[in-house]
């Protein structure tokens, strides 16, 4: 009996190894385990086995069943894996076909810069504020220490609605409004549209500025330098350097122009910076004590610094945009490149 069982296992295993089709496997399964299957028949022979041999033969039968079943399972898995592989191979797609479903749009480069800058400034303790674009002469000029008929009015050509209402020529107009309502210490930034009566290949009559104002005790030019350094590094990259040059603005004293190392060539000189390695980007300075006084802040106790710069130019530098006309034409071919 034991020999028969062993022979059956051996024979079946050899047969199983020869199988080339999944249907043959079922045939063997029936042949072995079916109602009249070979192993079934052997099991039926248990009746005739003497009692003392029964456990031994029974165990052998179980062992045989288990080993054949395992073998069948292994072969079955092998076949299924092959079938699956074939199926997957057949389902192969051309991965270079265009994507579909999602078609993204894009943000305008100027508003992207505003997002970036306001995030930087808020993280540095600035609050973002806004003011009217159609502004009174008082806030745009007089409160910023630019009296009527003063020579410093010649620095900008403005659009007027009437004698006392102007399209703001600088976001600085917001400084005065904020100084009126805030108590030091405070830090504010103001992004927004500004207007000047000039239009040529490098000037748009409508453009965007970003204005900053800090009022506190003992604010210095060195503080201005460190704050602008951090800001410009976060905007243009960690290796950015800034440099001060003397200048004049009625609302700051001392007044400076701030040059920023060209992010395009890192100061080596390229077409963006006209070979100088530096970009003239910001106007800044210590808030003129007269401006503090006009707007109700005690200039003996408090001082401040202010800075302002063009967002159009900043966006153009950051995105290597060469033509200012692109900025307001809203051509999809241009905006698509902002993705």
């Amino acid at each position: 009996m034991l020999n028969k069982i062993r022979d059956l296992v051996e024979k079946t295993k050899i047969e199983l190894d020869k199988i080339i089709d999944l249907s043959d496997l079922n045939e063997i399964r029936v042949k072995i385990f079916g109602k009249t299957g070979e192993l079934t028949n052997l099991s039926k022979g248990m009746r005739d086995v003497p009692v003392e041999d029964k456990p031994k033969i029974g165990a052998a039968l179980n062992e045989a069943r288990k080993s054949i079943e395992e073998k069948i399972k292994t072969i079955e898995e092998k076949f299924e894996a092959a079938i699956l592989a074939k199926k997957l191979e057949k389902e192969k797609v051309d991965i270079t076909q265009p994507s579909k479903g999602i078609e993204m749009g894009a943000l305008h480069p100027i508003s992207s810069v505003i997002d970036k800058l306001t995030d930087i400034c808020v993280s540095m303790g600035f609050s973002v504020v806004e003011g009217p674009e159609v502004e009174s002469d008082y806030y745009n000029f007089e409160a910023m220490n630019i009296p009527k008929n003063h020579p410093s009015r010649d620095m900008q050509d403005s659009f007027f609605i009437d004698e006392n209402i102007v399209l703001r020529s600088q976001t600085s107009a917001v400084q005065a409004r904020e100084m009126e309502v805030r108590k030091p210490p405070f830090k504010i930034v103001c992004p927004g549209k500004t207007y000047r009566n000039e239009s040529d290949s490098t000037h748009s009559p409508i453009f965007h500025q970003f204005e900053g104002l800090v009022v506190d005790e003992n604010v210095s030019m060195a503080d201005l330098k460190s704050m602008l350094t951090i800001m410009m590094r976060r905007l243009f990259g960690q290796d950015t350097e800034i440099r001060f040059r003397p200048s004049f603005f009625p609302f700051t004293e001392p007044s400076i122009e701030v040059d920023v190392s060209c992010p395009n060539c890192h100061g080596k000189g390229c077409s963006t910076c006209k070979g100088t390695g530096m970009l003239e980007l910001l106007g800044a300075g210590i808030v003129n004590p007269k401006v503090l006084e006009i707007n109700g802040i005690d200039s003996k106790k408090y001082s401040g610094f202010a800075f302002g710069f063009g967002l159009d130019r900043t966006a153009m530098i950051l995105n290597s945009i060469s033509n200012i006309r692109y900025m307001y034409r809203n051509d999809i071919r241009f905006l698509k490149q902002m993705k």
């Binding site: 210490p185 210095s220 030019m221 001060f244 004293e253």
Partner: protein, 796 residues
């Protein structure tokens, strides 16, 4: 402003080259925009003496000249007819590169060698005003005392270097040679040379200025009026050195007296005016405001009608000069002038500015007055002019100067704080450096403890406080001290909380969502043409914010709607071949609140789409998605905005306020903007939406039992709306309601006219148990009953 390098050297020893000087001036805030070398095109041009003239053997019109050019005798062929043996002429030699583009080489003319060319005045870049003979049609014949071989730029005093300096409005005192010289002194650590203000005068003469002129100042706009008289005036060509100076800075030399006034204007920054005494009616000068309707003829040959805002210098009878701006031909100097009255005055800058703009005339004089001339400058200017009269021997100065001043401007004492200045600058500058810099600038400064005791000269009206001193000190100490400073991190400052702007935050969420949905953000000009409102079928014509000085008709008023911008952008994009346009803009619209008031500025979001397979409901989805980011409670009602299609448009309403509108644009608007009719537009009031409390999410509990769903198709009249049916379904479901959605609408002849079939998917769920079929069927029956009772629905 053009500054002559040679002229500067009258006042300060300059030991560095012009480029170097330009760099230093720029670094101190006097930006040198251009350096012009006067002799750029005069190299290889020398004085030559024609020794011999012979006929050209091959050409009748040419002559062959032997010319002494100092180092040698050279041969030059010319066609000029005004040359003669013994004449001194400018000779351009091989290598010369003249201002008119001619480059000189050795050449053969009809077989005879010519080693250069004789030059006319024009070829040297000068005219008759500058040098006698320079304007003739032919070769410039030079004076006999010129030496052959002398380089022509030296001989004609054309070897100056001109620096074009940008002067900031706070430094009116630098609109002069002497002003820039003061800066140069400070930069080079030099002392200013003494300026000669002395002139010859017969102190025993009884004749005084009063015998020639009297002055009456009748307007507060004249701060100071000084007048001197000069007899025995000789009106002639002024000497070459004076003409050279004026020519270098772009002023045409005319005659002695006129040149002296211009010389002082440039050198001292003091505008002067010279009158012919005989033409001053009644020998009386009256400084007054003009009377309305008075007229004056000006030197530019125009006649101006005056008014009370314009100040004039008049005689007994009539205005002679528009004060500080422009003189008249009658009262001015002419070739026959014998007695001259010289005016040195200071006027209110506001008055001159207004006048100059009102009559549209800007002169060298008005340019200085409107920036501000200090009262003390008038006496320096007149003294310097009288010095020049003596020097040129072109007249006798009469004893006495009339001086009427309503304003004084004297040196002021101010006290600065060293500590405070260093605090402003944030760097430690030694007090000795501070004092040195200020002293070099002409601000006499002594250090006492923490104090800087300064005597500020009259010409520095801009210096008043520590900030002003700090600027003077740092711009000359050098801003490069900051190059080494990295982070100070506000050693003294307090912490402030940074806050984003609530509307900008909301708009950022909108913009990002729209970009993710395939929309492109636009930023457009907020200035538009006056007809844009009508094109959009809007009616804000009485509320337009109009520009009084527009740059063009296209930019004449502020926009009243984003629609205009977006439809223009759509039109542009389609015209260049872009297709499937989905664009939006966040920006302001402007409506007037009446004259003299600031307008209403509203922040809006506009969306515009022209895309295949895009309809009203696609637009609605976008709008709903955006509104879902806010806490807005709203209903949607049919819109009656004129710019939208009356049947395919809706308003978003919150508590009776229209917060936005959307729909297909009206076909007339489409036509007006030349865009397709299938264009959709939406707008939202961002200010309103940003004023709402932040959206709060409150999660409701979820049933642990499964959702069941059933479909229901019914036939109703066309007039029945989806919302009515959905509301009824909801109420019929009661507590078991989970969701309902419309998934099909079907119309056919079989259904009949004005009928539609609508198919809903209804989802039910209970918090307590799994629903049985029976329970579900009961609900469905109830729904159908309600729909049929309320809306006449029939099961399909």
């Amino acid at each position: 402003m053009k500054i002559s390098y040679n002229w500067l050297k009258d006042f300060v020893d300059i030991n560095i080259a012009p480029q170097e000087l330009a760099k230093k001036l720029t670094s101190a805030g006097m930006e040198v925009e251009e350096i012009i070398y006067q002799n750029e095109h005069l190299h290889d041009v020398v004085v030559g003496k024609i020794l011999k003239i012979e006929k050209h053997p091959q050409a009748d019109r040419l002559v062959v000249c032997q010319v002494d050019i100092g180092s040698e005798v050279t041969q030059i062929i010319t066609a000029a007819t005004n040359v003669f043996e013994g004449a001194l002429v400018p000779v351009s030699l091989p290598g010369a590169d003249l201002v008119n583009g001619i480059k000189i080489q050795k050449s053969k003319m009809r077989g005879v060698e010519s080693c250069g060319m004789f030059c006319s005045g024009e070829e040297l870049g000068i005219d008759e005003n500058y040098f006698e003979g320079a304007g003739v049609n032919g070769i410039l014949i030079l004076p006999n005392d010129f030496k052959p071989g002398t380089p022509i730029d030296k001989a004609l005093l054309l070897d100056d270097v001109i620096l074009d300096v940008g002067i900031t409005p706070n430094r009116a005192d630098c609109m002069s040679i002497i002003g820039i010289a003061r800066e140069v002194c400070a930069l080079l650590n030099q002392k200013m040379k003494v300026v000669n203000y002395s002139y010859d005068i017969d102190i025993y003469a009884k004749d005084t200025v009063r015998n020639y002129v009297n002055v009456d100042v009748k307007t507060p706009n004249c701060f100071r009026y000084m007048a001197a008289a000069i007899t025995d005036v000789k009106i002639e060509r002024s000497p070459l050195w004076m003409r050279a100076r004026l020519n270098a800075v772009g002023i045409k030399p005319i005659n002695t007296m006129v040149d002296i006034t211009n010389y002082v204007l440039i050198e001292m920054g003091q505008p002067l005016h010279a009158f012919d005494q005989e033409n001053i009616g009644g020998s009386q000068i009256v400084v007054r405001q003009a009377k309305a309707g008075e007229k004056v003829e000006a030197l530019n040959h125009s006649q101006y009608e005056l008014n009370e805002n314009i100040m004039v210098i008049a005689d007994q009878n009539k205005p002679m000069v528009i004060a500080g701006v422009i003189g008249g031909p009658e009262s001015g100097i002419n070739d026959k002038t014998k007695i001259c009255v010289l005016e040195s005055a200071v006027f209110d800058l506001k008055s001159i500015r207004t006048t100059s703009r009102a009559i549209g005339v800007r002169t060298d004089s008005s340019a200085r007055f409107e920036k501000g001339v200090n009262v003390a400058n008038a006496e320096l200017g007149i003294a310097r002019a009288l010095h020049l009269v003596s020097l040129l021997k072109c007249g006798k100065v009469v004893r006495g100067i009339i001086d009427i001043a309503s304003k004084k401007n004297e040196a002021r004492k101010i006290v600065g704080s060293i500590k405070k200045i260093n605090q402003i600058l944030g760097v430690e500058i030694p007090s000795s450096d501070m004092a040195r810099i200020l002293n070099n600038l002409g601000i006499e400064t002594k250090v006492y403890g923490d104090n800087l005791e300064c005597v500020v000269p009259p010409y520095r009206e801009d210096i008043e406080n520590n900030n002003d001193l700090a600027e003077e000190i740092i711009r000359l100490y050098g801003y490069d001290v900051y190059d080494k400073i990295d982070y100070t991190l506000f050693e003294n400052a307090k912490i402030t909380e940074g806050k984003h702007h609530p509307r900008l935050i909301m708009e950022r969420a909108f913009r990002n969502a729209l970009a993710e949905h395939g929309y492109y953000e636009n930023i457009s000009y907020t200035l538009v043409s006056l007809d844009s409102d009508a094109k959009m079928l809007l009616n804000n014509s009485d509320r337009l914010v109009k520009i009084s000085n527009p740059i063009s008709d296209d930019l004449a008023c502020m926009r009243t709607s984003l629609m205009h911008s977006l439809l223009q952008n759509l039109n542009y994009n389609l015209s260049v071949g872009n297709k499937n346009i989905k664009i939006f803009e966040c920006g302001r619209t402007y409506l007037s609140n009446g004259n003299g008031k600031l307008p209403q500025e509203k922040n809006m979001l506009g969306i515009c789409v022209n895309n295949q397979n895009f309809d009203f409901f696609n637009l609605k989805a976008i709008v709903e998605d955006l509104l879902n980011k806010t806490s807005l409670n709203y209903i949607i009602e049919r819109s009656n905005e004129a710019y939208l299609h009356p049947g395919i448009s809706a308003d978003i309403i919150c508590d009776g306020v229209v917060v936005g509108s959307f729909g297909k644009i009206h076909p007339i608007v489409a036509k007006n903007y030349d865009v397709p009719q299938e264009t959709f537009y939406a707008q939202l009031d961002d200010d309103f939406l940003a004023s709402l409390p932040e959206k709060k999410i409150e999660v409701k509990s979820i049933s642990k039992f499964p959702i069941v769903d059933r479909d229901l198709a019914i036939v109703v009249d066309e007039a029945v709306t989806t919302k009515e049916l959905v509301d009824s379904i909801k109420s019929a479901c009661g507590k078991l309601y989970y969701d309902v959605s419309l998934f099909d609408i079907y119309r056919s002849e079989q259904l009949g006219e004005n009928k539609k079939s609508m198919a809903f998917n209804i989802k039910l769920s209970s918090i307590e148990k799994t629903l049985t079929d029976e329970e579900i069927n009961q609900v469905m029956k109830k729904i159908l009953k309600t729909l049929s009772y309320k809306h006449g629905a029939i099961l399909r």
